[in-house]
Every structure is written in structure tokens, then in C-alpha cells.
């Protein structure tokens, strides 16, 4: 409730203008709500609702393998899926073809020695015997929710969930 001390002055003037004071008062209220909205967006962005923050960081485990990635990502903005193995060598990482249609793989470190395709998957094959960390850099090329199951060495299944903002 507005106390009389805070009431906006009502005046009569000889000026030929449409002041619309009631609309001004309503506008100031909406403006206040807008400021709360702007600060809310800033806070949520800091927390990672739009990517890169505690709300966005996701860690998945499957056996000895840990995968870190961002749950919330933005269109055309690079993101990373980091796969770390505590013991086993990672010889193959398989990503679904549908997933790679929506997120374009731009770089894989270390570089795979060979790629091949199976029914629904693109397989990245790594040589050597001590490959324990793989970083896949992706650029989203679609919007909305994307779920995919990644396979490590054809056995360990890791489900990835992303939400891509436009």
C-alpha cells in the first residue's frame, strides 16, 4: 500500500500535454519488476544456468571412467566433454551420429588415430596403451534438449544431457 508520504503528486497544469500519470505509476512498478528480472538473470548466469557455472557443471561416472561436461550450453559457443579414466586405457570413444549432427566435433585431444562408423555411432579409435584422458571440443548447431549415450571402449555407457540455448 502506498502511504500518503510516498504518493505521487497530482497536479493540474496549463500545459497542453498528455501526462498519463496513472500509466507512469504503472510503468514504474513494471520497471522495478524489470530490474529484479535483470538482476535475477545476472545471478542465474553467474550460477551457470546459461552455461559455465555450478548449475551447469555435470560429472558422470561409469566404472573407472569419469566424464565432465556442461549441462547448459549456448548455440555456436564451444563446449568441452572431458573423459578421464582412473585405470583402464581408453581405446575407443563412440558418440551417437544424431548427437554429432547437433553438436559438431571440432577438435579431439589426443587426436584419434582412426574414425569409423557403426550402426548409430561414430567411433574414435586411439592407439597406445596409456590413454587416460580425452577432451572432445564441440560446437552446438541446434537448440533445445539433447540426450545421448556415449560409449567408452564399447562397454561403459555414459548418458549426456545438454540444453542448448539459442
Amino acid at each position: 500500500m502506498i502511504s500518503p508520504a510516498n504518493k505521487i503528486e497530482r497536479i493540474k497544469s496549463t500545459l497542453q500535454i498528455k501526462e498519463e500519470i496513472n500509466q507512469h505509476i504503472a510503468g514504474w512498478k513494471i520497471q522495478r519488476m524489470g530490474w529484479v528480472f535483470i538482476f535475477g538473470i545476472m545471478l542465474l548466469a553467474l550460477l551457470g544456468l546459461f552455461g559455465e557455472g555450478i548449475l551447469s557443471n555435470e560429472t558422470k561416472k561409469s566404472g573407472d571412467i569419469t566424464t565432465q561436461y556442461d549441462r547448459f550450453i549456448r548455440y555456436d559457443s564451444e563446449t568441452k566433454v572431458l573423459i578421464v579414466s582412473n585405470s583402464a586405457h581408453m581405446a575407443t570413444v563412440s558418440l551417437p551420429q544424431d548427437y554429432l549432427k547437433k553438436l559438431r566435433s571440432i577438435r579431439i585431444i589426443p587426436e584419434p588415430d582412426a574414425n569409423d562408423m557403426s550402426t548409430d555411432y561414430v567411433n574414435y579409435n586411439f592407439k597406445g596403451s596409456e590413454n587416460k584422458m580425452i577432451a572432445i571440443y564441440l560446437v552446438p548447431k541446434a537448440y533445445g534438449n539433447i540426450d545421448a549415450t556415449m560409449l567408452i571402449n564399447g562397454m561403459d555407457r555414459i548418458v549426456l544431457h545438454h540444453f542448448i540455448y539459442p
Partner: protein, 147 residues
Amino acid sequence: MNPVLRGFVIYVFLLIIFRLMGKRTLSDTTTFDFVLLLIISETTQQALMGDDFSLTASAILICTLMGLDLIFTLLKHRLPTFGTITEGAPLIIVNEGKPLKKRMDKVKVKEDDIMYAARLCFGLEKMEEIKYAVLEKDGTITIIPYR
């Protein structure tokens, strides 16, 4: 995203944000506001163009922005209420030499701002010499002195 949709979203978003920030944001341009505007324009440019720097995309976006501006102008002309909502209305902030403090507080205008406008336009020295001061739709302060 389609350049037309991108242009539309950015145009409406900027319209809403600047409306929420209030009138004084664009009018009372300080050095910092100027820098802020430069940063906003740079950010907007990236969001509008994305990674498509083709001549066609630029032409589509220019047409879209001009078209939207035209639509908004026509709507404001046909529907005065729409104009008041999107652009606001003038507000009297000094009435017969007396500053209307609560109104000034709401629109973040100080007496110094009014006196600056009074000195600039009419060389007035005191608040009592001002009959009306009006914060216009574009954020400028106009002064009507006693005759």
C-alpha cells in the same frame, strides 16, 4: 537462426531493456554511458550477425530492422496507447517553481539536472524562475519559464 527472426528478437529485447532502464539512460549521456552504448552495440552486432558476415545477411538484417521500425511507427501512429507503452509519456517535474520531488525521485532526476537545462535554454538562475519543467519522452528536460 534465420536473420529475420534474429533481428526481431534483438530489436524487441533492446526495446524492452531500454524501456526498463528508464528515460534518463539514453538522454543524460555521460562518458560511462557512452562507453556502455559502444559495448552494447558491439555485443548486439555479434548477436545479430553470428558467424554470417555475408552481404546478403547484412542486407536482410537492415531490411528487417527498418521494417520493424516502420511497423512500430505505424502502430504508434494508429494506436496512441501502444506509443505511450513503448516510448512513455512526458512527465511534469517542476510545477510553478516547485520541484515535484516524488516524481523526480521515480525518474531519477535531480534538481541540478533541471537547473542545468534551465541555464542552458534560458539562462535562468533560480528554480523559482521556472514555471514548468517537463521530462520529455526522449529523456530531455524542457523548461517553460515565467513570462
